[in-house]
Amino acid sequence: MKKTRVIYVEDDPTLLSIVSKLLRNQPELEIVSVGNSADALAKIDSQVFHAALLDISLGQSSISGIELAHQIRSRNSDIGIVFFSQYASSAKPTDQGDYYMGWSTIAKTAELDGKYISRVLVDSALGKSHNVKAEEASPSSAEYFRQLNPRQIKLMSLLCQGYDTGKTSQELGLAPITVRAELTKIYKILVPDPEPGTDLRTTAVLRYLRSNPDLGWFGDD
């Protein structure tokens, strides 16, 4: 099988190393990685690539990933362009003309799914585009917090101090069943859309602390 030759441009050396290693494990890809736009253009001029995986913000010494993509396309109009960035949606074209065939965007996440990145790269090299969904709106931590009643706030501050259900019920003078019922209500407020496998208590505590850290560790001081 003919491999898809990919040039990967990323200015963060750690990420460059991790993602390069990840992609080298994909049998359908052949990866060349560089840390800036000048090196990328030099490689593009001297070698044949089928796709380019680009970060958008490439640091002060480089042109931006988007400008780099245009320059790469001006040298090789058939090359697949894949943006791999936190700002990926900003590189998503509104125009669906020929120029933007094989022009894709992938949002950077900790999962770093090598297989998915590989699929997008191969597809883009063949002229097919994949694009990130519209970016999420920011959930308001303060909004979560306002929905809690005083007893729930007291309960959460004990949870933040490491109290379990038994100790919490003793401290608040409530039956354990009442504490558990309150916790269920709190989870629905603080973690309204849990992913499968989410630890509700940990997530609730983290969100509570972010929304009002003073009432977390130091609430009773």
Partner: protein, 365 residues
């Protein structure tokens, strides 16, 4: 239609006062002078007929015209000498000397070109000329002082505008620095850390993994959304493909309160990248004013490329109608002033034909 011109208002209010004499309404001034001189002559010389009074007044005005032209020439020549003096008394003396120097030629000119109709003409004319001359000397000195003050104020305005521009530039640099740190360093670092955590979690028991997963999810939520929003709020991402994408953070801010419609047909953003920040900041301030102060529900943003080097940015909103309170200068208008001035442009706020408040900026790039 209500229309308020904006820009460097203080400067604009100063400049008209320093206009050259020929920029004023000459016919009206001359007619007033003829009228005033005729009245003065008829009082001073009751023996003159009405016709002779007007004719003599014309002669006098013609004389004054020569007087002014001649005086202007002398003043031009003596300008350097006058401006180099620091003491007002010395300047006053130079003015008087310049005017006295001109009296004799003037008197000669009037008598040659406008023959004396009565025996008493020369005395009456001399009295009028002398009075006007004194008035002119005093007004010239006052005007000179006023001009000096205006020039000084104009310099202060220029300095103020320059300082304001520098402050905004410096603020933008700091914002960009922090924003890039958040986006490039912190976010990339968190991606790596979270990735390492996910890798490490593969070897821990399921119960513990679930707790770690929750922590990673929260860190990812902070990284993807909260740090991104903070980074954007500090400094917009200019590396975008379209003008619409440039304004995405603004759309996010007002998503729940205002419907914003953007039109930029035929505008190639890649050519505008150098002024992307200015476009963003101007739009940000106008949108903020419309949404917060005008309580607008709909905002339309249109970018029109008028030629290769100029753009027109039009932002209309259906908020509270424009009134005098909209003219209060605040931080917002100062920011708009500065960015528009940096692009050698101008802007105005008006009520358009549909009764909507319309901001219109003409910008060069």
């Amino acid at each position: 239609m209500t229309r308020f011109e904006k820009g460097l208002n203080l400067r604009n209010s100063i400049v008209p006062a320093a206009k050259a004499p020929w920029h004023y309404q000459t016919p009206a001034v001359v007619a007033a002078m003829i009228g005033a001189t005729s009245v003065t002559l008829s009082v001073a010389q009751p023996s003159l007929t009405v016709a002779w009074t007007v004719k003599t007044a014309l002669s006098v005005i013609a004389g004054i015209f020569f007087l002014i032209v001649g005086l202007s020439l002398i003043l031009n020549y003596s300008k350097k000498l006058i401006s180099s003096q620091t003491k007002i008394s010395l300047k006053f003396l130079i003015y008087i000397a310049a005017n006295i120097f001109w009296i004799a030629p003037h008197y000669f000119l009037v008598n040659v070109f406008f023959p004396d109709p009565t025996i008493d003409f020369s005395r009456a004319a001399l009295r009028i000329f002398t009075a006007l001359l004194l008035f002119q000397i005093i007004s010239t000195v006052v005007a000179n002082r006023l001009n000096e003050e205006l020039t000084a104020k104009e310099e202060l305005v220029k300095e103020l505008v320059k300082q304001r521009s520098l402050i905004i530039e410096s603020e933008e640099e700091t914002r960009e620095l922090v924003s890039k740190y958040l986006h490039n360093t912190l976010q990339s670092g968190l991606v790596v850390i979270n990735h390492q955590l996910l890798e490490a979690m593969k070897s821990v028991p399921p119960a513990t993994r679930s707790r770690f997963q929750s922590i990673v999810d929260e860190l990812e939520l902070m990284r993807r959304i909260e740090i991104r929003d903070a980074s954007r709020a500090l400094s917009p991402n200019l590396d975008v493909l379209t003008f619409d994408s440039l304004l995405t953070p603004l759309l996010d801010v007002y998503r729940n309160t205002v419907k914003i419609n953007i039109r930029a047909n035929g505008v190639e953003y890649s050519r505008l990248k150098s002024i992307g920040l200015a476009l963003y900041r101007i739009t940000e301030q106008v949108t903020l004013n419309a949404a917060v102060h005008g309580a607008a529900k709909n905002i339309e943003i249109e970018l029109i490329q008028t030629n290769k080097q100029s753009l027109t940015l039009v932002i209309t909103n259906d908020g509270a109608p424009l009134n005098s309170s909209a003219l209060n200068k605040g931080t917002g208008t100062a920011i708009i002033d500065t960015w528009v001035a940096n692009l050698h442009g101008s802007w105005e706020l008006s009520l358009n034909d549909r009764g909507l408040t319309e901001f219109r900026a003409k910008l060069d790039f």
